[in-house]
């Protein structure tokens, strides 16, 4: 990304939300409703989590925000501008997939440098930024390694380093630690919070883990499936930095219960129509 649009983005007043969806919907050509009437404001500096069961459209929503999918109704505003009016290089955002999604033939350094190479950033400058980015995720020593020689957690760190290297304001993360073991995931969750605070990022995080959502975010948005839609917003009013103690505190359990209730409420409601059938099937 170039310096010009970062300057432009800085000129926007902080009160303008980073992302604003106005009754956005996405219906596929075969009439499947992937998202219905989604209205959401993501403030700058938010750590917002989209939480819901499989098929609730949380990944789809993330792809809509990223511009990989276009909403079929409603509007998407990024930093106050209609998304379709923003030139592609005026979207200082990065996307982290569920899998590390690295090029297996390229070194860690070359993988992290990819977005800069694609933007034709001069090699010397790019390598400097790559070194900074790798240092941020604690992988400065692994620059020359090939991805398959690293553990799953380290590969995911490389993927995060690659997303940080463009110095984005917004990072979209699609269940980035979903494939990792619980211990590694908790460690990476903690590191991610550190990065978020230090770089003053805005993060939209997709997960189906209630505890991960409650630990990480200041706002949890619950979602339901068929059709994919937003249910509730549960604010997590807890100070940062959050320690491991927080994740075993009564307040943590309290937040988690509210999130749980929101999800259960939705499932009983949406199931009510087919409840008789389901009960008959269960019996």
């Amino acid at each position: 990304m170039s310096t010009s649009h970062r300057a432009a983005a800085q000129a926007i007043t902080p009160s303008v939300p980073a992302i604003e969806l106005v009754s956005a919907g996405l219906t596929y050509p075969d009439d499947t409703v992937a998202l219905r009437d989604v209205s959401l404001r993501v403030r700058r500096g938010d750590f917002l989590t989209l939480l819901g069961p499989s098929g609730c459209g949380k990944s789809t929503l993330l792809k809509v925000i990223a511009g990989l999918l276009a909403p079929t109704s409603g509007a998407l505003l990024l930093w106050g501008e209609p998304a379709q009016r923003l030139a592609p290089d005026q979207r200082p955002m990065a996307y982290v997939f569920q899998a590390p999604t690295l090029m297996p033939w390229a070194s860690v350094q070359a993988n992290v440098r990819l977005p800069l190479d694609l933007a034709r950033v001069p090699r010397a400058l790019a390598n400097e930024r790559v070194a900074q980015s790798l240092a941020l995720v604690g992988l400065a020593d692994a620059a020359a390694a090939l991805p398959h020689t690293l553990s799953g957690g380290m590969q995911m760190r490389v993927s995060i380093a690659r997303s940080l290297v463009t110095q984005p304001q917004l990072i979209l993360m699609d269940e980035p630690f979903g494939a990792l073991d619980e211990i590694t995931r908790q460690r990476l969750d903690g590191e991610l919070l550190e990065l978020w605070r230090r770089a003053e990022l805005t993060v939209v995080f997709v997960t189906h883990s209630i505890s991960e959502a409650v630990f990480l975010s200041n706002r949890v948005i619950t979602m339901a499936a068929r059709p994919g839609r937003l249910l509730d917003e549960i604010p997590i009013d807890e100070p940062y930095p959050r320690s491991a103690d927080y994740s075993v505190s009564a307040r943590f359990a309290n937040h988690a219960r509210r999130v749980q209730e929101s999800l259960q409420h939705a499932s009983t409601h949406s199931a009510s129509a087919g409840a008789a059938v389901a009960r008959a099937g269960a019996a």
Binding site: Y95, T101, M103, L114, D117
Partner: protein, 269 residues
């Protein structure tokens, strides 16, 4: 697989050479014993020792013949690779083009070269070129099929990532599609190298004594007319060794190009 046990990996590598060599030694011994024991005449089955002697004595004719056949094979492989890769690039540009043209690539593959070679030899006056064309036709299909498959076998998430970063078409091709396709391409090349040799020999057989006559197939034909079975075996041996040599060269090329990143190159499998 055995990366964590270097000694085990080395043992596996040694085994890969020693075991087949032991089989070859046993077979040669049995062959020699069979010929000596039954006192078979050399025009029925020459002993391995006689084949070796013939190879040495007739090297002045067999050596240049080997070079002719190898030259045709290598030129054909080169031509097939070049054309095959170009066709693959065209195929991946659009599904419509691939759908329209792929049946004709299959047509090339299923038409026996023996039946087409006479036509090519009549049409193309330059004998070497005619033989190269025949052999290239045989070797073309695996290059097209594998390279096309490879260029399409891109991790969809990586492709999304490139799109998110506004990668141009050429960037996607150079930085994503071509590296992703390399393992498939080299797989195709390995098959094609064997087919190019077969194509070269078959084409030489068809061309027969009609002018070009200098390759190994010509030597086999001539030796057959003269009932010089030992020389026939010697020429056959050279063809087999060429095939194995090509295979090894292609494997080394693949290893050099892919390094250690691809699973097909990991030790022990």
């Amino acid at each position: 697989m055995n990366a964590r046990h270097p000694s085990a990996a080395r043992d596996a590598q040694v085994a890969r050479v020693v075991y087949p060599a032991a089989v070859a030694g046993l077979l040669l011994l049995a062959w020699q014993a069979l010929v000596s024991g039954w006192d078979l005449p050399p025009y029925l089955l020459p002993s391995p020792a006689l084949v070796a002697r013939t190879l040495f004595h007739d090297w002045s004719t067999l050596g240049p013949a080997l070079l002719v056949t190898l030259r045709i094979t290598v030129l054909a492989l080169f031509l097939a690779t070049l054309c095959g890769v170009l066709v693959s690039f065209v195929f991946v540009q659009s599904r419509a083009l691939e759908t329209a043209l792929f049946p004709y690539a299959v047509l090339l593959q299923v038409t026996p070269i023996v039946s087409v070679a006479p036509l090519i030899i009549i049409w193309v006056r330059e004998p070497t070129l005619a033989l190269v064309l025949c052999a290239a036709l045989v070797a073309l299909f695996p290059v097209i099929a594998n390279t096309t498959l490879g260029l399409r076998s891109v991790d969809p998430d990586l492709l999304d990532y490139f799109r998110l970063n506004r990668a141009s078409r050429s960037q996607v091709l150079l930085r994503l599609r071509i590296p992703s396709a390399l393992p498939y391409f080299f797989g195709g090349l390995r098959i094609a190298s064997g087919l190019a040799l077969i194509g070269a020999v078959v084409a030489e057989f068809v061309a027969g004594t009609g002018g070009t006559g200098a390759g190994l197939a010509y030597q086999i034909l001539q030796a057959g007319y003269q009932l010089n079975i030992a020389r026939m075996f010697a020429a056959l041996l050279l063809i087999s060794l060429s095939g194995i040599g090509l295979f090894v060269v292609m494997s080394l090329l693949a290893r050099a190009a892919l390094g250690s990143w691809h699973a097909s190159q990991s030790a022990g499998d």
